[in-house]
């Protein structure tokens, strides 16, 4: 006989949001105190700040999306709404990854003269960084979306067969 014990994912999301917000604040502190922001154009600095703020907003949205908020609608409607909000969250997280790495790399390299093939290497590292983070995001949301989609399929399975 086996039993399945559940782990609360919303509690983890809450913890993650707090930890990431602190990390972002520390990253900004390090970038703006130890990495000579005065050498950069002020727009580059603002871009980094906006990218980090986008990260905080992303985490707030993530936490909001973890809340279910059924308003007395049907189970099928709740599932549809939740799957769509999870997919939206995944897209937002990937968009945030692009912003974050673009902001950080621009900040770090704006005042460094880069020429020739080095530009391509920098771009390659940037794309790889974005891809790795996006892959983690996809992996993280895939199981949530799959679990809910399975339930949607179970509910509508008869529709297909009976129809």
């Amino acid at each position: 006989m086996v039993a399945q014990k559940s782990k609360s994912v919303s509690a983890r999301a809450r913890r993650k949001a707090v930890i990431e917000a602190i990390t972002f604040a520390l990253v900004l502190l390090v970038f703006f105190t130890g990495l000579d922001p005065e050498r950069n154009h002020f727009l580059v600095n603002i871009f980094l700040v906006l990218a980090v703020l986008a990260g905080v907003v992303n985490n707030l949205l993530l936490y909001r999306n973890m809340l279910i908020n059924p308003q007395g609608e049907s189970v099928a409607a709740t599932l549809r709404r939740r799957v769509s909000s999870f997919k939206q969250q995944l897209s937002l997280s990937i968009a945030f990854s692009v912003l974050l790495f673009a902001g950080a790399y621009t900040f770090l390299l704006a005042s460094v003269p880069i020429s020739g093939s080095k530009v391509w290497w920098v771009l390659l590292v940037l794309v790889l960084s974005i891809l790795v983070r996006s892959w983690f995001e996809v992996r993280r949301w895939r199981s949530s979306i799959r679990q809910l989609t399975q339930c949607q399929v179970q509910l509508s399975a008869t529709t297909a067969r009976a129809g």
Binding site: A3, K5, K7, S10, I68, A77, L148, S156
Partner: protein
Amino acid sequence: MQISFLKETFIHTVGQHQGIIHKVCRIYRDTVEDREDLFQEILFQLWKAWPSFRDESRVASWMYKVALSTAVARYRKKQVLLQHGIKDEMAPVPKEEEHPGKDRLYRAISQLGDADKAIVALYLDDYTYDEMADILGITVNHVGVKLSRIRNKLSQTLNPTKHGS
């Protein structure tokens, strides 16, 4: 003033139908700890939705909608545990009477998919096909087809020898 009135009516109304929450928790979660966790979550969702609830003649249906939506839509990572490792957690919920037949039925129900569990929960509470269709968001015909398949599945789980021969 208004909040205390809301609170009072909420406690009174939900308290009268709290069996619904217990049933949903029992069907959807295997361990006592998880059931308590889900119970709190459902109560919280009911409380949040309470101010917008109007149709007091259908409290039970509304509670089922919120409770089932919460149980089904709440993502959780599953950890499979061996029974001997979770002896304490698998102990029956306090206040619940020992009933071997009922326990067997609930064990069989726990092997169904999440959507099927919702149908069974409503069926056990004598809901009509129309009401089940409204709560679940599917057509009445689908409820009928689904229930017939679930009955077969449960019958196979509860009487494996009969179906094996």
